[in-house]
């Protein structure tokens, strides 16, 4: 017990839960501050973890899957039936891949609490936000597959309620949009999760039978890879490919990968601003994180076999998502589809890394680019959603056509929105460029045609973002908005924090890249050993 509670990572899970309960119990005025306090405390703990690792081991000290930092492993469920064993451990730890995501989650939740300060039923809202934080945090720090799966599902409940209760009331398919989207989000994720659970069980028992040791630790599974073929309905497939596909199904829905992406625009348009921020900022990253952490580690041969398809789907994601953006009339939906496009870049990087084609340096760079994209897309799209939230809170519409020249009345917001848009379209000096440039230039060695086709997204991205900004903020002023106030101080805090972060990562990327590369290097090394 002592080792559980003396571990800082346990507290990143517990603090939000405790904060959530407290926020629910105390009166409204205190609830906000309690939520802020507990999210800040969680953020402080994650920063503490980060600084501690940095102080003891430097940038190379974040370890990897086999050597995670702040590791805690305590037996939880150990069940034996004849020769079968079902073992689940309370196994937490961070490394260079999860650390940025942990920090991102903690930071975005703090900002979301600030952003949601004025919500209706604020106690429940804050409580759910905090529970969501705990669930997502759990996904990023779990090193046991079953614990991972548990956390993966835990996160759904608060998200479902947040969209379903505080979402928009626009009618969709004969019901309020928030209901429709909450259910769509829930069912779609469950749909993927079922496959993942099947994959996890298959993997767990196959490895257990092959090695005689039943251990769901991701590190263990990645060192004792399954081998052989499996017969499914009379068709023989490689065991790794099957496991890869089953587990990847959940991540594909979450990323979201074409054609499983349609929940995303609905969820985004109907979710309240802060929830959209969390959704785009960290929930989508759960899919990408799982893909790299689990799929590449435990089923490298499966990943390699699927890599060509993943590359093609990545190009579809990138271009198709961007093309749809051009036709959007709703700002938030536009940004939601732009997420589809930008998450495709991660898929492309992973596909290149898993391909086994091109030089190892190129693949390493491609995977690094993909992970950097995970972080930078989180902060950039988070900022974009905050911007849309501000304008929606004041103007009560997100229709692009309804605006025109409002930069005249909202200079600060126009500045920050334009900034975020430029970051999103990959302007050098800002975070998005690092990721996209790295991924594209190095993926070419693995998938030349796909990469060349994907690069055309540069035009589309610039076109839809700048065109949207132009129609909303620039050009002739629409006198209808003469009364519109600019973003106030509370609304500007999240925007400015994210803007500063975007600039820092964009100008001096080593601060992020050096954290993740040791981990990825170990991963790619294992990958190279595994698939020869």
């Amino acid at each position: 017990m002592v080792e559980i509670f003396s571990n800082a990572l346990t507290w990143t899970l517990l603090l939000p839960v405790i904060g959530g309960v407290i926020a629910l119990l105390v009166p409204e005025k205190v609830a906000r501050w309690a939520a802020l306090l507990f999210t800040l405390a969680t953020f402080a703990v994650t920063i503490g973890v980060f600084v501690n690792i940095l102080a003891t081991g430097g940038f190379g000290g974040f370890g990897d899957l086999a050597h995670p930092q702040f590791e805690v492993k305590v037996a939880w469920i150990h069940f034996v039936a004849n020769s079968l064993q079902f073992n689940v451990d309370y196994h937490l730890g961070v490394d260079g891949l999860s650390m940025p995501m942990v920090l991102l989650n903690a930071l975005l939740t703090v900002l979301a609490v600030i952003g949601g300060w004025k919500k209706m039923r604020v106690r429940e809202y804050m409580a759910l936000l905090l529970l969501l934080e705990a669930g997502v945090m759990g996904v990023f720090i779990s090193l046991d597959l079953f614990l991972f799966f548990l956390m993966w599902e835990v996160e759904l409940a608060p998200m479902f309620l947040l969209i379903g209760i505080w979402g928009s009331d626009t009618m969709k398919h004969g019901m309020p949009g928030r209901i429709y989207s909450a259910w769509k989000f829930l069912l779609y994720t469950f749909f993927g999760s079922i496959f993942m659970l099947a994959g996890i069980l298959l993997l767990y028992f196959m490895v257990g039978q092959q090695t005689g040791t039943y251990d769901a630790s991701i590190a263990y599974l990645s060192q004792h890879l399954v081998s052989g073929d499996i017969s499914v309905l009379g068709i023989t497939v490689g065991a790794q490919l099957l496991i890869f596909l089953l587990i990847f199904m959940a991540f594909a829905v979450k990323i979201p990968m074409f054609p499983f992406h349609t929940w995303l625009p609905d969820a985004h348009t109907d979710a309240p601003t802060e929830v959209s921020v969390i959704l785009a900022g960290v929930l989508l990253k759960m899919g990408a994180y799982g893909l790299i952490r689990i799929c590449l580690s435990v089923a490298p041969a499966g990943a390699q076999a699927f890599a060509p398809w993943m590359a093609v789907i990545a190009a579809i994601n990138i271009l198709y998502g961007a093309a749809i953006c051009l036709a959007q009339t709703d700002m938030k939906k536009l940004i939601a589809y732009s997420s589809v496009s930008h998450m495709g870049v991660i898929l492309l990087g992973v596909a290149a890394a898993a391909s086994g084609l091109g030089g190892p340096d190129f693949r390493m760079a491609a995977l690094t680019g993909a992970v950097v994209q995970m972080f930078s897309h989180g902060i950039i799209t988070g900022m974009l959603f905050f911007c849309v939230g501000v304008i929606y809170d004041h103007a009560h519409t997100r229709e692009i056509a309804a605006f025109g020249g409002v930069a005249k009345r909202m200079p600060l917001l126009a500045t920050l929105f334009t900034f975020a848009g430029l970051a999103s379209l990959g302007l050098p000096g800002l975070a998005g460029f690092i990721a996209e440039y790295m991924t594209f230039t190095s993926s070419y060695a693995s998938w030349p045609v796909v990469t060349v086709v994907s690069v055309f997204t540069m035009i589309l991205t610039a076109a839809y973002l700048l065109w949207m900004l132009k129609r909303v903020f620039y050009g002739p002023f629409n006198p209808r908005w003469d009364w519109l106030p600019d973003a106030n101080v509370r609304e500007s805090i999240p925007l400015i924090v994210l803007a500063v972060l975007i600039v820092i990562v964009g100008i001096y990327p080593p601060i992020l890249v050096d954290v993740i590369t040791p981990t990825l290097q170990a991963l790619m090394h294992g990958f190279g050993v595994a698939i020869k």
């Binding site: 953006c325 005249k408 440039y437 050009g475 106030p485």
Partner: protein, 742 residues
């Protein structure tokens, strides 16, 4: 070594950008009176707590602008310029002056003491990597200075300095005064990133950043309306167009970079053009086709940035930005970045054989002619200059292409860079003079007048502007012994010389000669229509004579501009004359290159053919617009079907813009709408369809729940009976017959 610290020059404009945005602009905004009446009490966090980009308050206008309330938003003004705003300009100018002096020192030092900086140049002490990992080593932010960079550096810093001085006068009481100066600084920084780039990564960074500065500066007047009557888009539209069209070229650029990176594993110019294992010569050995493809892709970036055919459409529209911006970015420096980039990657082009260079030359020549033809009929004072810029950039690419295609070692990038160098001064001068005209006519008429049909005889009112413009017009036409004469003639005669090896260059030679004549014609057309006219003094080149009717066709009385405007004009006029006398440029840029010699030029008969054609152009312009007169020419053209059709054709830019508009609106947006419809009806339709199927199934099955006890009993007992029968049948089959049951 002092050259290693030239990153001070690089970071200086960034410093002024930061100081202005977070310092003096805040001061400016804080010192403004709160907007009164515009915001009601309910919105207490009003509009004046603005920061950064974006906006200029809607405030009381100066007295002189009260008469035109309808375009309040076009160019918002403040009654009095605050000290914060003024200091923004001072900060920018002071820092730029220091940079300019330092860069001229560096250039002169290296010209006069050839040993101080070798041709290979030196890396700057400022550099960092994107990651520690060895695999990420190519992703390095590093800078390099050599002779080529220094040549470009002085152009950028000098023009920037002059434009900033000029802008003090031009921007007057603009509400966005501080913002404007911060953008100018940001632009200079971005441009210097390109200049100092040591690898493709950094040059691409600078490439995009100048795109950003261009976007911000074109869209500087954020709420300005479009003018469909004059075929002018709103600045916001033009800004987006510029950025997006540039991105089209950038896609080619990055694809080229990717191919090179894939083969060589490096971005560094030095490594690529050297002889080591990472050089293109080594990596692409035996595969010059792929290298040619890569280089043509890289050239696409230059096509976009330098507005060459077929991506030329954005530059004329970019004229919607303030005129100093047009001079600095869209004439002298940024658009020349494409030329600089090709010059920078000259050894890589050379390694790929002559095909890539031939593409460069032909694109340049076609663009030169196309833009010159279009410029013939434009009536917008700035647009004529915009097309002229496109045309002259075409010359530079011809210079690079024809020099590289035959013997890259002989002249190197010299001819193209020489024309870039001289062109920067006289084209900046042309734009600044045009800006002076527009600004002064704005004072006189309280309107933005850019149509030269509303000008005429302006030489009488603004003699300095007129004379400096005339100097520039002579220079660009290739008048003997002015700078344009040397740089342009070098290119034309080189095309002729090298045509002996590559016969298709005869075509380029003819095109460039033709363009030279057209250039002279349209420049003098613009000059005469705006500044002189039929019946003017000095053979129509001056203003109206004493006692004769006024040549000026507008309203009000224009005046000469203040010294902040005329000083840069005069300085640039001097530079336009003398810049061509740097005969040592070629050997300064390229080791062992041949320099141009004054004697060769003046004794070569072909040179004088070019001069003759230019004079013919000038004479024809004089004939049409001084002897015949503007109105009469117009009448003749309108009454002749052939001439009218030709006029329409060039006036509408050969309908290329309309074609692109159609393509964007119907094809690209059409595809986007189809994709969106596909997504919501097919992809999402399947999802909703599956959900609907399940829900429908449930609805159907619900009907069996009648609520009647007896129907349930039927089901229950029927089910039991059915099970019994099934069991019986199964047992019968497995036990071999019903009788065995008993």
């Amino acid at each position: 070594m002092i050259y290693q610290y030239s990153w001070l020059i690089l970071l200086a404009p960034l410093l002024s950008f930061v100081v202005i945005i977070f310092g003096t602009r805040m001061w400016d905004l804080a010192s403004r009176p709160r907007a009164t009446g515009a915001s009601d009490a309910g919105h207490s966090h009003g509009h004046t707590d603005a920061a950064g980009h974006g906006h200029d308050d809607h405030e009381a206008h100066g007295d002189e602008h009260d008469s035109h309330g309808h375009n309040d938003d076009d160019d918002p003004k403040v009654p009095v310029l605050s000290w914060g705003a003024r200091f923004s300009a001072y900060v920018g100018i002071f820092i730029m002056l220091a940079s300019c002096v330092f860069s001229w020192y560096l250039l002169l030092n290296s010209v006069l003491n050839p040993d101080v900086l070798t041709y290979a140049g030196t890396d700057l002490t400022l550099h960092w990597n994107w990651g520690n990992l060895a695999a990420l080593a190519p992703y390095a932010i590093s800078f390099h200075v050599d002779h080529l960079a220094l040549t470009m550096l002085v152009v950028v810093t000098t023009i920037s300095l002059l434009v900033q001085i000029y802008s003090q006068g031009y921007m007057e009481n603009s509400a966005g005064y501080a913002r404007f100066f911060s953008y100018l600084s940001l632009f200079t920084f971005s441009m210097l990133v390109i200049v100092f780039a040591a690898n493709f990564l950094v040059i691409f960074v600078g490439w995009e950043l100048v795109g950003l500065s261009s976007y911000l500066l074109i869209g500087f007047w954020i709420n300005k309306r479009a003018r469909p009557d004059e075929d002018r888009p709103s600045p916001a539209t033009a800004a987006v167009q510029a950025f997006v069209v540039n991105r089209i070229g950038d896609v080619g650029f990055i694809i080229g970079i990717m191919i090179l990176f894939w083969k060589t594993g490096t971005y560094s110019f030095a490594a690529l053009s050297g002889t080591g294992p990472q050089s293109v010569a080594h990596a692409f050995a035996g595969d010059s086709t792929l290298l040619t493809i890569a280089m043509v892709c890289i050239f696409c970036g230059a096509i976009g940035k330098s507005a060459q055919v077929p991506l030329q459409i954005w530059l004329p529209n970019a004229m919607e930005g303030p005129t100093p911006v047009s001079a600095l970015i869209h004439a002298a420096t940024m658009v020349a970045a494409g030329v600089y980039m090709v010059a920078r990657t000259f050894p890589l082009f050379a390694a790929s054989g002559s095909t890539a260079f031939e593409v460069v030359a032909w694109i340049g020549a076609i663009t030169a002619l196309y833009a010159a033809l279009t410029a013939l009929t434009q009536t917008d004072f700035k647009r004529v200059l915009a097309y002229s810029t496109i045309s002259q950039l075409g010359y530079m690419f011809v210079g690079l292409g024809v020099s590289g295609a035959v013997d890259p070692e002989k002249f190197g990038a010299g001819p193209g860079m020489f024309h870039l160098f001289t062109h920067a001064f006289f084209k900046a001068l042309l734009f600044l003079a045009a800006g002076s005209v527009i600004s002064n006519l704005h004072h006189a008429t309280h309107e933005e007048v850019q149509d030269m049909r509303k000008m005429g005889g302006l030489a009488k009112f603004m003699p300095i502007t007129a004379i400096t413009y005339l100097v520039a017009a002579f220079t660009i036409s290739g008048f003997p012994f002015l700078s344009g004469f040397y740089s342009k003639d070098t290119i034309i005669s080189l095309a002729h010389t090298n045509a002996a090896t590559i016969p298709s260059f005869y075509g380029i030679w003819v095109l460039t000669l033709l363009t030279a004549g057209l250039t002279a014609f349209y420049m003098f057309r613009a000059y005469i229509v705006a500044f002189g006219g039929k019946g003017g003094k000095y053979a129509g080149f001056g203003g109206s004579r004493e006692g004769e009717p006024e040549l000026y066709r507008g309203v009000g009385t224009p005046h000469e501009a203040p010294w902040t405007i005329t000083l840069p004009l005069v300085l640039l006029a001097i530079a336009s004359i003398v810049a061509g006398y740097w005969f040592g440029l070629f050997s300064y840029l390229t080791p062992r290159a041949e320099n141009i010699s004054f004697m060769e030029i003046v004794t070569d008969g072909w040179t004088w053919l070019g001069v003759f054609i230019a004079f013919a152009g000038i004479a024809w312009a004089w004939n049409l617009y001084v002897r015949v007169g503007w109105e009469r020419v117009h009448e003749v053209v309108e009454n002749n079907a052939v001439l009218r059709a030709l006029h329409r054709l060039t006036l509408h830019k050969f309908y290329l813009d309309d074609f692109y508009y159609w393509l964007t609106k119907y094809v690209f947006l059409g595809i986007a709408h189809i994709a969106a419809a596909f997504d919501s009806s097919i992809v999402d339709g399947i999802v909703n369809g599956v959900a609907g199927l399940v829900a429908g199934l449930g609805k159907g099955l619900r009907r069996t729940e009648t609520g009647k006890v007896q129907s349930y009993m039927y089901g229950f007992f029927g089910g039991v009976a059915a099970l019994v029968i099934i069991v019986l049948v199964l047992v019968a089959f497995t036990q071999g017959g019903v009788k065995n049951l008993w």
